[in-house]
Amino acid sequence: MRRSFSRPLWRIAALPFVGYLGQTGVALALGAGQDEGLPWLAVVVVCQGGRDVQIHLIEKDQAGPLVQRLFDALERQSGSVSNFNKMLAHKPDVLRAFNQLSGAIWAEGTLVPKLKELAYLRVSILNGCAY
């Protein structure tokens, strides 16, 4: 085993692998030794997938003036700011534009609100979405 790790081909293959694993945060254990005068690395890998990514919600006290203003308006409108809007706040212009669009779409029109709500609820169920 040791002998095979000391072969140049193995070392060449192992080095970029170590770099890649380091970047993606995968656990690895390194062993070092000496064989025929050449250093080698034994790599024991426990693969845990990618980084633990969690997109954070933007709260009012972390937000810039535009988002604060939009959050104030949403609070006045519906009593609180939904997590969806706190997520959109990563892109303040999108937060503003989407709420304008949504307001226009849900504004009183010709289709009775009950039927719009029926369609909306069905979409959420189809998407398996609890939001």
């Binding site: 969806f84 779409i105 029109g109 010709t110 029926l118 369609a119 909306y120 069905r122 979409v123 998407n127």
Partner: protein
């Protein structure tokens, strides 16, 4: 909406829908399912089916509601928005 209607909405297939929803509501549900799941398969006959119950402006409003609902759900699912 009644509990029965909500239960029927959650059921796969549409058999129970006939018992708890009006023809208008069923037309909306059928179109909502198509546009949300197989948008590329929608053809003029599907609009004709909506046209039995709704006028042009109402159909536009319906499609916009379905489209934004899907957009909202995809943003929440994609970014894994925590439930409040």
């Amino acid at each position: 909406m009644t509990d029965e209607q909500i239960a029927a909405l959650k059921e796969p297939g549409s058999r129970r829908r006939a018992e708890v929803f009006t023809a208008e509501e069923r037309a909306i549900l059928r179109f909502t399912d198509l546009l949300s799941s197989y948008p590329g398969n929608i053809d003029p006959s599907d609009l004709d089916a909506l046209g039995e119950h709704f006028n042009e402006e109402q159909i536009v409003e319906l499609v916009l509601v379905i489209a934004t609902a899907n957009w909202t759900n995809r943003v929440n699912d994609g970014l894994q928005t925590p439930l409040s």
